[in-house]
Subunit: 322 residues, 2 copies
C-alpha cells in the first residue's frame, strides 16, 4: 500500500482520552471515555528513515524509548512498514496518566499514535482497522492479557460494549448526555497481569447469572436513560470482592460517593483507580469535593478527575502539514 507522503517537518498531534473499564458488573466488556486526562502523541515526518521516539514527557521512567517496545511506537512501526514509507517518523509522547493507574494509559498512547498516523498520512483507516493497530500497541504493554475495552473506549468515546474482543466487535451504547464520571487515582501502581492472576478461574453459575442480570439491566437502564435501574445494576458479585482488598480506600471511597448521590462506584479497570458514575455535573462535583477532602486534602496523594462522558473519543488536536 502506498500513500502520498507529507513534507519533511509536517506533524500531527492526536489526543486519546483516559478510559474507565469494567464499571462493576461489566468485567472485560464495558468501557467509557473521560474528557481528561488523556495522552498526546505527535508524529513528525523526518528525513532519516525509520521510526524513532524523540521524547516522552511525564515519563515515570519505565516507558521504553525503543519504538518496538513502546505501545505508541509499536503500531506506528507496523503502519510504517505496511505503507512502505520513504521518510522517517519521529514520535513525541505526552503522558498525562500513570502507568498501571487503571485508566488505560497504554491504550490511550496507542490510540493517539494510530489516530495521528492515520491523519498525517491520510490513510483513511476504518475505526476497526485503527482498533486493530492500537491493539498491537496495547499488547506490548499488557503481554498475554490483551483486552480491547480500554482501546475501544478511548478510540470511540462514549460508553462501549466489547461483545467480542477477537473479532473487534464493539457496540457503542446509548446513555444520557448528563452522565459524568469521577475518578480517584491514588498514585500507586497495580500490575494488570497480577490483578488478573488473583481472579478465580471458575465462578458459580448462580453468581454468573446474578452478574449477567445486572449487566443486562445496566445496558437497559442506560438506553432507557433510567439511572435508578443503572444504580441497582452496578453491583459486582465476582471481581470486586476479590480485587477490592488491593485497592486503597475502596470501601470508604464508595460509601462517600454513595452519600453524595453517586449512581455507582467501581474499580476502574484492574485498579487502583476508583470510578463513580454521577447523573449530573453537580453530583460529580460533590463526589469530587468529598473525595478531595478525605483522600487528597494536601493535593499530594493522588489525582481526582471528573468529566462528562466523552462522546468524541480520540481526535486530532493539531495538524502542521501542507
Amino acid at each position: 500500500m502506498k500513500v502520498k507522503q507529507p513534507d519533511i517537518g509536517a506533524s500531527c498531534t492526536a489526543f486519546a482520552p483516559a478510559s474507565v473499564t469494567n464499571l462493576s458488573c461489566g468485567f472485560d466488556v464495558l468501557g467509557l471515555a473521560m474528557e481528561y486526562p488523556g495522552d498526546e502523541v505527535r508524529l513528525t515526518v523526518a528525513t532519516e528513515k525509520g521510526v524513532r521516539i524523540k521524547n516522552i514527557m511525564n515519563n515515570s521512567g519505565s516507558i521504553p524509548l525503543n519504538p518496538e517496545e513502546n505501545c505508541a511506537g509499536f503500531p506506528v512501526c507496523r503502519l510504517y512498514e505496511l505503507y512502505g514509507l520513504e521518510y522517517g517518523i519521529e514520535i513525541s509522547i505526552v503522558k498525562h496518566m500513570g502507568i498501571g493507574s487503571g485508566l488505560g494509559s497504554s491504550a490511550a498512547s496507542a490510540v493517539a499514535a494510530v489516530t495521528a498516523f492515520d491523519a498525517l498520512f491520510k490513510t483513511d483507516l476504518s475505526l476497526t482497522e485503527k482498533l486493530e493497530f492500537a491493539k498491537m500497541g496495547e499488547a506490548i504493554a499488557a503481554g498475554d492479557s490483551v483486552h480491547i475495552d480500554n482501546i475501544a473506549a478511548s478510540m470511540y468515546g462514549g460508553i462501549v460494549l466489547v461483545r467480542d474482543a477477537d473479532s473487534l466487535d464493539i457496540i457503542p451504547l446509548d446513555f444520557p448526555a448528563t452522565l459524568w464520571c469521577v475518578v480517584l487515582y491514588p498514585r500507586i501502581t497495580l500490575r494488570t497481569e497480577e490483578m488478573r492472576n488473583i481472579l478465580p478461574e471458575t465462578v458459580p453459575l448462580r453468581k454468573a447469572v446474578i452478574q449477567w442480570g445486572n449487566l443486562a439491566a445496566f445496558i437497559a437502564g442506560l438506553h432507557q436513560h433510567d439511572m435508578s435501574i443503572v444504580k441497582k445494576a452496578m453491583h459486582d458479585e465476582i471481581i470486586e470482592p476479590v480485587r477490592k482488598t488491593y485497592i486503597p480506600n475502596f470501601t470508604e471511597a464508595k460509601q462517600i460517593a454513595e452519600k453524595k448521590g453517586a449512581i455507582g462506584t467501581a474499580i476502574s479497570g484492574s485498579g487502583p483507580s476508583i470510578a463513580s458514575l454521577a447523573e449530573s455535573k453537580a453530583h460529580a462535583q460533590a463526589i469530587h469535593d468529598a473525595w478531595t477532602d478525605r483522600f487528597n486534602a494536601d493535593g499530594k496523594k493522588g489525582f481526582i478527575y471528573s468529566s462528562v462522558i466523552n462522546r468524541r473519543g480520540a481526535y486530532v488536536k493539531d495538524m502542521y502539514a501542507e
Copy 2:
C-alpha cells in the same frame, strides 16, 4: 383487608400467554410473551365457601384438582384468605399448552388466575403484587427451582429482564414492533428440575464473560432496533451445549430456521420447545412452514406456533358481573 364482593354467579375469565425464556444468552433472566397459545382461567363466585377447581379442560391428566396443589388454585387460595372472602370461588381452567413444554404452562395458569381474581374482586393489585402471588403458584409446579422469568413475561407481556428474582425486579425491554417468535413444541415432556440438575454448578470465568458480553449486546441490539447485533449475540456458551442433547431435532431445527433468516434460535426455557426470533411476519412464516414440512408434516408430532411478540401480557378476556 376487605373488598366488596360481587354477587353469586359473577365470573371473570383471564388469559395469560405462553412465554419463551432464556433466549439463548439470557439464561434465567430473559423472557418474552407470545400472543398464543396461552391458558385461560375463569373464577366464578359461588355460595359455598372455599376455593374449588371445577374443571380443567385439555388436562393431560397430571394436573391436580386440589386447589392447594394446583398452580392456578394455590394463589387464589392465598388471595381468598388474605381478603377474607365470604363467598366461595370456583375455578375453571383451560390449558392450551402441555405441562413441561418449556412454554411456561404453569406460569400462564398462575398468572391468569391472579389476573382474574384481581379483576373480579377489584383488588387493584400492583404488577409486583400480582407477580408475588403468581410466583406462589409457579412454586407449586416448580418445586425448589422457582424462577420468575415465565411469570414476568406472561404477566407483563413484551420482552422482560429479570434483574433480581428475589426482589421481583423486572425491567421491560424496548424492542422493534415487527419482532416475531416461532415455537416448535415436539410434544415430549422434560422436567424443569431434571434439566436444571444436568447443568454445571460452576462455569469458567472466561465463558461467563463471553456469555454476559453476548447478553449485553442482545439488550443493546433490541433497544437500538438493530437485529444484526441481536443475531450475533444469540449464542449460548454455557447452557445450550449441555441441554441440546435432550432436545429432539434441535440442531436441525436451528439450521433450518437460520436458512430462513431467523435472528436466532434457542431452547425455550428448559425445553423441549425450540424458539426462533424473526424480524418480520414473513420471516416467521417461512420458518413456521419449513419446520412444519420437516417436523410436523402429518400434524401429529407436535405444535408449531408463531406470533408477533405480545405487548399486552395477561388480560381479562371476559367479565360477567354487576
